[in-house]
């Protein structure tokens, strides 16, 4: 039906496919690195419920709405929900993982600087979803 040569179209498709392959490869590699939880990461249990966050450290300390961690340590969050789906998000550290009732999801991070950062909910959970916030305090190591 088309009486003209179409090698430009083939080259164009080859370039697009090559670009997509590159994106996929880079993303695969980055994800592999990001998902690898270091040995000895300290576990923090995160519990989401309408409409606040609670945290429990390995030594039993509990916190509501705030989380205190130390610079330079690796932490692994074990995230659960008591009611509906929420999503635990510390945007400044690109930590994001859903809190789904009936399962435990994990995500890890290692804070590098002292400071305060926002914790927010990133999955619609009703009336006060917009205000389901907390604060992460990264502090100097105590020892």
């Amino acid at each position: 039906m088309s009486g003209h040569s179409n090698w430009p179209e083939w080259i164009y498709i080859a370039v697009v496919v090559a670009l997509m392959a590159w994106v996929g490869a880079e993303a695969w590699n980055a994800e592999r690195l990001v998902e690898h939880v270091p040995e000895g990461a300290e576990v923090i249990k995160v519990t989401a419920q309408q409409w606040f966050w609670t945290f429990e450290h390995e030594d039993g300390t509990k916190e509501i709405g705030e989380l205190h961690v130390e610079v330079g340590k690796a932490y692994k969050f074990e995230i659960e929900s008591k009611d509906v789906i929420h999503s635990f998000n510390i945007h400044d550290y690109v930590v994001l993982m859903d809190a789904v009732p009936g399962r435990v999801n994990t995500v890890w991070f290692a804070p590098t600087d002292v400071g305060e950062h926002a914790i927010q909910c990133r999955e619609y959970c009703g009336l006060l979803h917009y205000n389901m916030r907390g604060t992460l305090y990264v502090e100097e190591p105590s020892s």
């Binding site: 697009v16 997509m20 993982m97 789904v100 399962r103 619609y124």
Partner: protein, 512 residues
Amino acid sequence: MVLEFQKPRPIWQIMFSTHHTDIGLLYLISSLAFLFLGGSLALAIRAELFFPNIEGTGQIIADSMTFNRIFTVHGTTLIFLFIIPFASAVGNYFVPIMVRYKDMAYPKLNAIAFWMIPPAAVLVWLGFADFTWYAQPPYSIISAPGPAADMWIFGLKILGISSVLGAINFVVTILKCKHPDMSIGQVPLLAWSFLVTSCIIIVAIPTFAAALLMLLTDRLGISGFFNPAMGGDPIAYSHLFWFTFHPEVYVLVLPAIGMMYEIIPRFSRKPIYSYNSGIFAFVLLAIVAFSSWAHHMFATGMSFTEKTVFMVGTLAAVPASAMHVFNFIATMWNGRIKFATPMMWAVGGIALFFAAGAGGVVNSAMPLDFSTHDSYWVVGHFHLFVMGTIAFASIGFVYYMFPYVTGRMYNETAGKAHFVLSFVGTVLVFFTQHVLGLFGMPRRVFDYPPIPEWIAMNQIASVGAMIIGTSMVIFLINMIYSSAKGELANIEDPFGLGGKYYYPFEAKNPHH
């Protein structure tokens, strides 16, 4: 020509008609009405988000629950009551003409499919549910107030059935009722887009129908499909929902691309560069559409392998979409292009289609999803598709079909003004929202902390939204006034393009 305000036909004649042009007109009027209604809800959202609520100021909407209901109905309305019925309007009006048949294959079924929309719309609007257009459990089961939730579920059930009935009609009409002298390789690309879209609908919708039923029985307490305490899993719903709704986004976009395949070659005064590539790209996209659904679920705790599979499935759809863009560009090359209103909308749509797709590729790169998931980046991204590509192509097509439906021409200056304002507004709102998402603002929030960057970007977005709103007022006035008092159009060639159309545009409505 089916709409003549100067010599109005009896309303009951249109309402009880089963002729494809009348049903197309009914779908057209209803879908445009919902465009304006859903758009007004968007303006309410943007007005509320203009200022963060500090000490009670900056708050326009009474409470967060009302706001949550508004965005739920906004999304539900624009997807199910505007985009899909608008595609049905175009398909109903033009597909029988394109395949040179007297009507759709099943005219009475066609009418039934249309008339399911008003009751479904009433259920959705009177209910005004608050659980977002996903209706994700467990929230939609244990926390969403009824009867709004149940009315939404029933409304969507009815809309799904309407969609499937329409799809069956298109498939049979195109494959079985086309003129004996016409092979399938001569059917115009707009008709092909409806054929492919209808096949996707028939395969994808039943999954959501099942999910809706399961949601209802869970809400009634007689089952626990999505309740962990009863052995269920809320993520099962996510799989069922997205298995339908990822292909569904292609159901939304393919007719729009088909509409661009009508407008662009005609206004460039040459045929489409590669008809075969167009078909290949449509069919490939329809198949690949089913391989990427769980990219919406990257944050739910999926394994690395699962995420990789769906990322690959997502990226695989890009070359097919890219083929359409190439086709459009190659068609315009060496053309002699008339930039009447429909062409401006189509070309603007191509540019925004690329931007939407590029943002989507970034989202699909697994680790980047941790930064963008459920933030305003996603809002900006999908709106560039539904507004920037689909609504632009649709509105351009409204201007294109205006002379055929009404026998008159719309006001060209107003049409161009509508385009310019909408394009500027769309860029202002949705490009800004990408950046807002990168700064961390979550979606579906009634309020936000007074971070200066967030405030500034929300305000830019709200201004953009008001500009789009203004342009839509111009559109409404142009459409109504020109239908009644516009200059009579030359039906043979309303836009002065020359050339003989390869199918007759004069639809033979039996009541005329």
